[in-house]
Each structure stands twice: as C-alpha cells, then as structure tokens.
Symmetry: C3
Subunit: 411 residues, 3 copies
C-alpha cells in the first residue's frame, strides 16, 4: 500500500529529495511512537516492534460448598490466584517474563525468566519457569477445562516451577524440551538444596485444521534437599498430598514426609485429541521413590481422563511448539455480538498412594463442569466434584460432594 | 476540522480513490497507535479508546506525635497506605480494576472487580469492591478531608470491601446501589463463611454549579462467619474497635469478640452540602447486634459532623452517580503558576459502645485540619486530634492530644 | 528539518491558513500520542515529554556453594532481589519513584519518594530514599562490580533508605546532599522512633573523557529508637552484623544488640578513579557508638578497596551529580553484533567489631570476580570469596571459601 508520501512523490507534488528526507523523518517518528493493542494481553510496543511490554493480570475468585458425610467442611469464598505479570521482548532474540502471585499471605514470584532464541534452532531459558513435564500442568491455569486440574497435578505442583536452565526445540509436528533446576525460589528448607532433571517430548501424528491428535512422554527426576547434619533418619524427604480437586478442601490424601528419600522420579504418558468442538485428554503418571537407611522403595500411580465439548462450536487451539492446548476464545463475546461461549466437560481421575510400608490412601473422583466464556478475558465456571471412592486418611470411607464456582479475569 | 488528507483532496492534489485508500490506512494506524495522558491518573489507551490501562499509585507516609496523660504512646513514622492499581476498559461495556496494598507485612488485594454496563440502565459489578454504604467510607481515601476518617468509619472498615455482586443505577439527581457479598478476600476465619446485604440510596434535592445538597440512607446487614463445631458459646462473633482517628495510636475503644452473634446491622443517615469553597458533611449510624444462646441484643450509636473551607477557593466536586464528593484539585499547582490549594477543616465525632451487658466505653473527639494540595498528585496534611472525652478501656478518663502529618502522592 | 506540512506550504500546495490549522491539529495529536522507548528502562511518555512512566524490573537469582573447615553451610539457589518499580515525571519539575521488593516473605517498599527541582539550584526529595552516605551503597545494586558489596556496606545497609527530607545540589565537578530521616518504613520497633542526619560531599578534581578522579566524605549520625518504658538497661540499641559478602551465608560477625545506645555515627572517606577500562575504588569507615547507663563508648573500623578492568574496553561512566559510577553497558551486545562485555575484578575488605567491652570479632576477605554483561539488561557474575582471617563468633578461626554465581536482569 502506498502511503501519502509515495502518492505525493508519484504525482510530482514533492520531488525525490524531499521524499527521501520526509520518509526518513517519518521512520524516526515511527520508531519511538508507541503502539498499544489488546490482541495478546495488553501490549505496549515500540513502533518497530523491537521492544515490547505486556501487562498480565490473572485473577480468580472461587466459591465452594461441601457436602460430606460426618464432616463439616467450611463453605465460602477464596482468592485462588491473584497475579500480575510483566513480559515481552528486549530486542529481537530476547524474551522475558516476570509474574507475581499475591493470593497468599506472602507475595511470591512464579515466572522469572529470560529466553534467548538466538542459538537457532534451540531456545534457551534461564531463570524460574515451568518444568517441561505434564501436558495439563504446562497448560495455562487460565485455560484449563475445569476449576482445578485433576489429581495427578497435585503430585507435580510442589515443583511446578524451579530456577535453572531449559533448552527447547520444536518442529511442525513435534516439540522437545529439557531442564536442569534447583528448588523453587522462596523455598527455605535447610540442607544442601535439591535439584532435578526433566524432559518432555510431544508428537502430533495428525494436525489438520481444527483436528489434532497429540502424544507426549515426560520424565521428571529429582533429588530432594539433602540433610547435611549426618544424623539418622535423614530429613531428606518428599511428600505427596492431594486435595479433592477443590483448593478450599483440606488434603484428603497425605503421605506425610517420606524420610530418607534419596531421589524420586515421575514418568508421564499423555494422549489428547480434538475434533472440532469436542476434545479428549488424558495422562497416566508413575511415581517412583528411592530411599536408603533400610527403607523400602515406593511406586505409586495416578491418572485422569477428560472429555470436553464446546456447545457454541469454538475449538481448542493446539500449540505445537509447546505441545499444549490454548484455552477457548469465544467467537461472539458478550457486549459485542453475542453471549460468549459455553463448554461442558466431564473428568475421571485417580491417585493411589498405597505401596509397601506406606498406606496413604487412594482416591477416585468424578468431575462435571460447565464453563461460560463471556469475553476473551472473563470466564465463569461451575464444577461438581463427586469423590467416588476414598480409602485412608481422616475422611476414610466418605464420599463428599463439592459444588464449586469461579469468576476469572485474565489477560 | 479538516485534516491534511481532506485539504489535499479538496484541492484535487489527490483524487477520490487515493483519498479513500489513504484515509483507510490512516484509520488503521490510529487504531493501534497508543495515547498516553495524565488527565485521569496515568492512562494508556488504544487509538480508538476501546481498551485502556490506567496505572494507579497511592502512597501515604505519616508522622504522629502523642501527648497523653499517664501513658507514653510511641511517636514516629508510618507507611499508612502503599497501593498500586491497574484499571481501565476491556471493550466498550467492560471496566476492570485491581488494586494491591503493600503497606502491611503481607500484601493484600483491595479492589478486584469487573463492571459490566451493557445491561442498561444498570451496571453490574462482580468481584471485590467497596460495599454501597456510608458516604465517607465510599469516598476515596486519597480525597478525604482529614488524615483519617471519623469514628463511625472504624465500624465500617473491617468489611469495607468484600467479594460478591453489586447492582447500581443512577439518575441526574440520585443513585441507588445494592450488593450481596461474602467475607473480605484473604479472611481466614474457620467455619462457614459470613455474608451480608448492603444498600444505599442518595438524593441531591439541589444541584447547581458549585452548589449541592446531598441526602443519603444506607443499610448494611451481615451474618458473621458461623462456628460449625456445634459447641456453646459459639465463636460466631463480631467485634468493634476504634483508634482515635490516628492509625498510629492503639485502639482506645475495643468491644472484643461479641460471641454468639447471629447477625448485625448498620444503618446510616447522611447529610452533606457544598456552597462554593465551603462544605458541610455528617453521618449518623445505628449499630444493632442480634445474639442467641441467651445473650442480650445490643444497640450502639456513632456519628461525625465536619466543616471544610478551601482558602484558595477551589470547590469539592460532587459525583452524582456515586453520591460522594471527589477531592480538591488545586487551580494553580506548585511548579506551574502558583502554590497549590489550601483547605481548613474541623470535625466532631463520637462513638458509644456501651449497651446492656457490654461496657466497651465511649469516645468523643475533635479534629482540626489543614491541607496543602501542592499539585493534583501531591498533598500534605496536618491534623490535630483532641480526645474530648474517653470513658472505659485502658485509657479511661485520659484526654490525649495527637499531632499528625501526612505526605500523600496519588494518581 | 522541514516536515511534510512545511514542504507543502513552501510549494504553495497548501496556503498559509491551511498550514496554520493543520499544524495546530498536528500539535494536538502529538501531545496525546504516546512514545515508548527502551533507552532508559522501558519508558512511556506523553508526546510533549511532560509526563513519563518508567517500568523498572530488577531481578537477581543467585547460586552459592560453600567450602568451610568444620562447618557444613547449605549450598543452593536464592532469589536475591526481585523488584518492580514505577517512576518518572509528573510535570516538568516533579519526579517520582516507587520500588517494591518481593524477594522476601513480606513484600516491602524500598524507594518511595517525590523530588521537586523547582527551587533551583536545589532539589528537594520527600519520602523514603537512600541516605546520602557511602559511594558503594549509593551505587545501584544492579551496577556494583561484585555480587555483593564489600564488608563496610553491611554496616550501612540496615538503614540504607529511610523516610524524610533530602536536599541536594551539584556543580560540574562536585555534589552536596544532606538528609534528615526517621526509621525505615515497615520498621516496627516499639518506643519513640529513631531518627538521624546524614550528609555527603563529593569532588572530582580531574574529569576528562573516560578519565576521572573522585573524592568523597560522608557522615551519618543516628539516634536509635528510644525505649520509653523507663526501665534499665534501656532497649535503645544498635546492632552490627556482616555476612561474608554472600547473602546465602550466615552472619560471620554479629555484635548483637548494643544496649543503652544513645546515638552512633558513621564517618566515611571515599577515593575512586577510572582510566579507560581500568578503575580503582575504596572507602574507609569509622563507627562510633555513644552509650549511657555506665556502658563504654565504642569505636570500630571497616574498609574495602577494589580494582576492576573491562576486558572488552568499556568504561565505567561517572555520574557527577550523584558522585557515583553507573554500571558497564556492553558496546556489542549478544544478539546484535557481539558477545557482550567482560570484566575482571579483585577486592580486599575488612571489618573489625572489637573494641572495649565488646568482642564481636573481625574479618578480612578477598574477592575475585568475573562479570559477563550479555546485553544492557542481562548480566551473569561469578565470584570467589576467600575469608583470609576470621576471629570470633561461631566460625572463629575458620577460613571458608565461597563460590557464587548470579544471573541478573534489570531495566
């Protein structure tokens, strides 16, 4: 498209010298002129796009009511997540992102990293980012189908993010990522700090339009923070806990500190597929704990499988480079030309923490969910969680029902 | 106003086709071009004004010195409020606002809401916002006449904001608002969470230029968080406390936890008027507490009345839609063409927490204030609080004097 | 440079009236048009530059490993600093800056001030800012040569910033600053709050191109928060502690609370010089403590001297108005046309806390450092600290080695 200067020069209103000079002036002005758009969060950019600053806001207010046989759990509201983020580009090959969580009594950093994409075809991330492990855990918490992720996510979440180095590479149908990390920032356990290695490979054998089939494998090996006092039993430990897919409920399952742990490994197999408005997603995870000082090694298992259908026809977009689905964007938002998008979903999940000398119980949950995406920024969820089976722990044998609602704003 | 393209087209320098094409190009550029202005805080907007992002900063540093008979209160400085906020528009009918308070040891969210104004004539607010109750409590803390609000505000402030739903509507001379809310975000009392209903109506029988008469009525009914342990006395309780209009002083009045409270109600009558540089404002509030397990119901009273005069002639702007005064803006700021604005003010206030079986004392205060509004963003206050009467509690019979100063930056 | 309107008017394509009108229109548009640049952090400005908003991000993730005879210190990572800042101009003579630190369990404000430069030649700062004392402490933590400042900085850092008033003035070769302040915001010691006076003068006898000689003198007198309980010994106290130039190590020296302190004074002499890529910097500090209730007065000493050389030739820029060096900016950043800048450095430092009745020990450290400035925003450091001598305290007689690394992003 010709601009005004081109048009005037073409007509001879301004001559070639004047054109050059005015064009250069225009380019200088455009470089410092800011652009501000709402396409990718609220993003500020220099005119040439070299430097950008995205403002991220992520807020979730929940309400939950409980119906448990023989126990009176506390109904009420919860500020589940309350995050602010800054991110963007610092020159062409440098990306950065810093996100803070203010929902808890002490503010905490979540994302804190810089990514360099100048060593092509690899990208190198330094700082605290999500470990490359588990499709559902890597999906943005703003875009997950249900109010809370399924039971396997509780095993991943204590070290969802950690500081270190991550290498990633992706093709048109696959992605690979590997990381070496310490303990999460803010962790204050005493002893020599724990560390770990994680890797994930994804492959999409079929990608066409609104249809995709996804396969993934991941492994997450960690050595917990090591007791360096020399006494026995060592306090080197890992603990697995799980709430019943409501963050307002207590931990229904809790292994307590598994002392004398030298290392543990999570292994994960992922399958997902989307056909238009329908999608299916599941993961199966193996947990292996190595212990010394005469304690037995342990093996636990956990999985979930979920089905979702967008009643208004929107599809879950597949992000090949990250091997995850992005969330639903309503085609006809409330306030413009419609009522937003509606989605129905169902999930089964299970976590079994019984093995050898450890009987921490096992749980089997069903969740039904309905989501209303009012605008690209605002979402309301209603979930019903039914504990189908619960063995062990203080709620042994009970089958609580949980009614949850969430209002979420995110950009 | 004709622009360059219109001028060139009118002269035939460019033809109609070229004009259309260049005009469309210009419109595209303007849509993504950012505007940044200081008129309403520091506000960034897309060229078409559909999306905006306001950066709010609100900082107060106080100094107080005490002169109490027989008690040595601690003189010194205090970071009273230290808040950052993001707010703005996400499309034409959607407003949002998130504000965080960093003055306390644990960061806390204050405002956290989205307002939809597409269901005209109503606006619907979802999230945590101020309850529609009490003119002085609804006025921005950046614009209140004195360093601290009067004694009735201490009764309102424990649940100044809470998460829920609010409906509002306003006419040219009136406003109506009602809300249903839970307990404030971050509250961690155990038991089934408390909730409440609040409503407020305001009417301005006279509004003309710099003159206004304001009347208001409000009610705020709440059920505190309910003890669900089944034991007696129940810990379901409300407590009323009040500092002597200095946040660096201890609570001179303190009811302690009024156990076995099933519900309580605040009722408020407001009167205010502004005539040019002079203004008068007052509220009278009734506090009624319902209790069970054989405890007596309680009724307390509190009120304030205040007078302000802007020595430099500026007027308090009345915001009809919200039924509150906005703060003073200096006509001649320091650094441009003057020394800013000066305001003198006086206030009487009273809180009586004696009734039936409860003798928590009563207090009567006088406050004199002088404010210097250096610029629209910067304000310095000096207040003198004299406790005229204080019965009950650890300072029973004393009449402390308090000397307070504040430096405030807000935008 | 002529713009398009000037060119068209010069050619008679538009007439004088049209020119005036279009020019005025252009000026109006430019005033609200935002500019966004990365030259001085990420800065947003109104078109006329009257109002600006800088977004500051300052993040440091550290790793340290310890090698101590007979003690097992905990190796690991640390979020050392995690700060967000907003600053800029609110009209021509008003600057503001607010910075928050999120690296600790409770978020805290660091900078919180407004500076007015309308009373020329003085600038007046109100709020919490760094006290005018000690070159190394006044240098931005993002630009210091080593991972941690030398031992004298641990004496300054408990009251690095405090709320109050500061006056400053500078010439072409000198600077003067003085402040009166209370205790740092967030401090919650009981009793009448402490306060202090500080002043610093700097002089650069030689400044030419990349060469500078700097001299400085400072004094920092403080009265600690006063016990007003009337009991003996009074809890009015000061304490001096020092880590061995690693924030992940414990305090190797610790005086504990020096009770009955009425006041203390730090006095500082500074010398620094830069010749091209080489620079030398040192400070000598005297600590004098006045005590009553029969306790002896105390006098301690501390100093550091450091040498730095930029292998890639960049020079430390000298900021005359503040009397400090700004950090290194790489001439050829990674991602554009090079590998960034490299700097090697060495430091000796000493702190002696033995005097009179107090034997808190003394320490002598050597530090070797290598810095890689990848881009103007990103820096990686490696430091080796060797404790040459350590008398007193729990590590008495040991000579630990500390291996430190840091990744830093700041803008």
């Amino acid at each position: 498209d010709d601009g005004l200067l081109e048009t005037l020069a073409g007509k001879g209103v301004i001559d070639a010298d004047e054109y050059q000079q005015l064009k250069a002036q225009q380019a200088r002005q455009e470089r410092t002129a800011a652009t501000f758009s709402a396409d990718k969060g609220l993003m500020l950019a220099t005119g040439d796009g070299t430097y950008t600053l995205q403002f991220g806001v992520f807020q979730q207010i929940d309400f939950a009511a409980f119906d448990a046989d023989g126990s009176d759990l506390s109904d009420g509201t919860l500020l589940r997540r309350s995050r602010l983020a800054l991110g963007g580009k610092l020159g062409d090959d440098w990306q950065y992102r810093f996100q803070y969580e203010f929902a808890k009594a002490s503010a905490a950093i979540t994302d804190a990293y810089v990514t360099y994409s100048g060593f092509k075809p690899f990208s190198v991330t330094i700082g605290q980012a999500k470990l490359p492990f588990s499709m559902e855990s890597l999906s943005s918490a703003a875009g997950t189908t249900f109010i809370e992720r399924g039971l396997p996510a509780y095993v991943v979440s204590p070290i969802l993010r950690a500081p270190g180095v991550q290498l990633a590479r992706a093709g048109r149908r696959w992605s690979l990522a590997a990381s070496a990390t310490g303990e999460p920032l803010g962790d204050s356990a005493s002893g020599d700090e724990g560390w770990g290695l994680a890797a994930r490979a994804t492959f999409a054998p079929y990608v066409a339009g609104h249809r995709v089939v996804h396969l993934g494998l991941g492994v997450n090996w960690r050595k917990p923070t090591q007791d360096n006092s020399g006494t026995t039993p060592s306090t080197s430990a890992v603990a697995f806990t799980a709430r019943p897919e409501s963050n307002q409920a207590p931990n229904f399952l809790n292994s307590g500190s598994l002392l004398d742990t030298t290392s543990y490994r999570l292994s994960d197999a992922e399958f997902a597929t989307a056909f238009g408005a329908a999608s299916l997603q599941g993961e199966y995870m193996w947990i292996d704990v190595q212990r010394d000082n005469g304690r037995d090694d342990l093996a636990f298992k956990t999985w979930y499988a979920q089905l979702a259908y967008t009643l208004t026809g929107e599809t879950r977009t597949y992000n090949v480079a990250k091997g995850v689905f992005d969330g639903i964007k309503p085609a006809h938002p409330l306030g413009t030309d419609g009522w937003g998008a509606f989605e129905a979903a169902a999930r089964l999940s299970r976590l079994d923490l019984d093995d050898g000398s450890v009987s921490s119980g096992n749980e089997h949950d069903m969740t039904l969910g309905l989501s209303w995406y009012l605008t690209p920024y605002l979402r309301v969820n209603a979930n019903y969680v039914k504990v189908l089976k619960l063995d062990g722990g203080p709620y042994d044998g009970q089958k609580p029902s949980i009614y949850e609602m969430r209002v979420q704003l995110s950009f």
